[in-house]
């Protein structure tokens, strides 16, 4: 326990101290994001993530967006465990045939109003896997997609930037 307290005191709030230039951008974007979410979603935007066959790099970056450096949660974004609690569905990966039903059921389980975000180049059109015999097609051909976040994988900062740009529209 003493270790933890000592380490906590020495480290301080890492979200503010780690990389000055980057921290400024995160803070500025975050403040904007927070006010947008406050206005449009009454303080919180709940996102359910579904992997439809991604290599795992997008997941890794989405998890990184929740680490203490970016900490999306403090701006009002929550990644929730159930589609029943979600406002948005965040889809990664080219849609493997094996995941087609699960993707649709997850979307159907969400309460309206709801929207779909695709994350990463594979989710846009299959990416490097688009010619495969086992890819069921782009997410946008299966569900109504409102926002795409490009990248292979998109970095936490580009996820943040894309969300702000989208909510500003």
């Amino acid at each position: 326990m003493l270790n933890i307290l000592k380490s906590r005191l020495i480290k301080g709030v890492v979200t503010r101290t780690i990389e000055p230039a980057q921290a400024q951008e995160i803070a500025a974007l975050g403040a904007e994001l927070e006010s947008l979410i406050h206005k449009r979603f009454r303080r919180s935007l709940a996102i359910r993530e579904v992997d439809t066959g991604s290599c795992g790099a997008c997941e890794s970056e989405i998890i990184a967006a929740n680490n203490p450096i970016y900490d999306l949660q403090r701006f009002g974004i929550q990644f929730v465990a159930s589609p029943r609690h979600a406002d948005a569905l965040l889809v990664t990966g080219p849609v493997s045939r094996n995941m087609l039903t699960a993707l649709k059921s997850t979307y159907d389980a969400m309460p309206a109003p709801k929207f779909v975000i695709t994350c990463g180049d594979c989710a846009l059109d299959g990416g490097v896997f688009k010619d495969s015999y086992y890819v069921a097609g782009a997410v946008k051909a299966i569900l109504p997609v409102t926002l795409h976040i490009p990248g292979c994988p998109p970095s936490p900062l580009s996820i943040l930037r894309a969300l702000v740009a989208f909510l500003k529209r």
């Binding site: 439809t52 997941e59 493997s96 896997f129």
Partner: protein, 525 residues
Amino acid sequence: MDRTDVISTLKNKLPGVELLSVAQPYPDELRIKVEARHFKQTCLALHTFLPSPIMMQFGSDERAAAGCFTVTAVFVHIRSAQWVSVTVDIPPGAPGFDSLSTTIHSASLFEREIREMFGIEPRGNPDLRRLHLHDEVWPQGNFPLRKDFRQPQPGALSGYIFTRVEGDGIFEVPVGPVHAGIIGPGHFRFSVAGEPIINLELRLGFTHRGVEKLFEGKTCADAVRLSECVSGDSCFAHSLAFAQAAEKICGATIPAQAAYLRAIFLELERMYNHAGDIGGMALDVGFSFPAAHASLIKEAILQLNEQLTGSRYLKKVNAAGGVAADMAAAKRALLLATLKRLKTDFQELVKSLYASASFMDRVDTTGVLRRKTARDLGVVGLVGRAAGIPTDLRRVFPGVHREAQFKMALQESGDVLARLRVRVFEFEESCRLIETFVGKLADGQTTGVEPQLKAGSGLGYVEGWRGPVLYWLKIDSAGLIERCKIVDPSFHNWPGLAYAVLGNIIPDFPLCNKSFDLSYSGNDL
């Protein structure tokens, strides 16, 4: 025991078996060809006297060139540092071969894969259910890795039959494919009697994308980019295994500078994953402070990767012939300074875990994978080393790791704590290795050669952070890929998880699962 010893021992053990051909195309590969009727006993002999699990088994459609299919089983011989493969020709009419799985368990999943992809029947395998091509969506009779496959033809669909545990008070708990966290998809079916798990059946394949087929017809330059997308947390290990296979076939020797750089990046990949997993284990017992601390270490390494190579996941670094990244003095200084800081941070992290009695109570003796079970299943890599199996490709095939006097992690108890300790040891060892390799870099060295294209086949292998990543590659005379078989260590280790959780309670499953941290996409391909 060198190459001739392997052959003479084999001949002594199998007096009636004629070896059709024995070849050694590269110093680390010994290729044996036998008649189909001798396949099983030859493999069994190698399995026992090398000794080695099946490290890789795959089919290939050679009907156009040779009028047959082939099936190859690959073993590793640790003492002589070589891969021993046994190949049989299989005539195309009602293709089949004698199943190894009843005597060599590690062949079981590979045979099911060969059956669904090529329609080659493993005669005598008691479990013929499909792995990647789910029965509910993929019609029967379509074999995508056959060369004449174009589009799936309509056919009967069916369902998947789970193993049922029946009896008074037995409950089934189905989980997935969509899980509660931000994680890949898979279906876990627990059978519980009260609290303890008495059976866990894993149904995977949900991220199957037909990767091996996509490699076919590509040039090496295109394929190396694809190999980075096989398993996202092992981009570098996969692209390195691919590049090494291609370099072997082309007879290219990479410059020393490139070999050191590759070793450095491989260890960086290991470090960010180990740090992430250690944090994950803390998180899965609800100990959030170390989890946050570990995610900072992971993030620091990802940012370091970006500063060194332009990519957080070390993409677009490897190429057939070398690396497309150099490390000038300024970058070397940055790397060493970051490592120094990370080492202190990491020691703090480990201290906060080991000093917490309630954390230790949760991980000690949880999720035990016994050594015998691990050996029987053919478990490899980190999970194997935690269960007392002393195998690490960095030691078997040391390369530049020899110069750094690589030390292998080893634990005996096979529980979550053992897997944690292996990670802790390996993280610190990786720091030391990188420091040694950085000392050997120099300015202005070449980091790549242009490989001369040649037809041929070869095996590329790398000890990634989970374990051995293997690429068996065949290139035709036009320089295009004819067949690429990928084995991610996850494919060997998922069955291990199903045994490790037995007797544990479902609330400890996330912890056991995280301590294995296997890849969905690398397994499903």
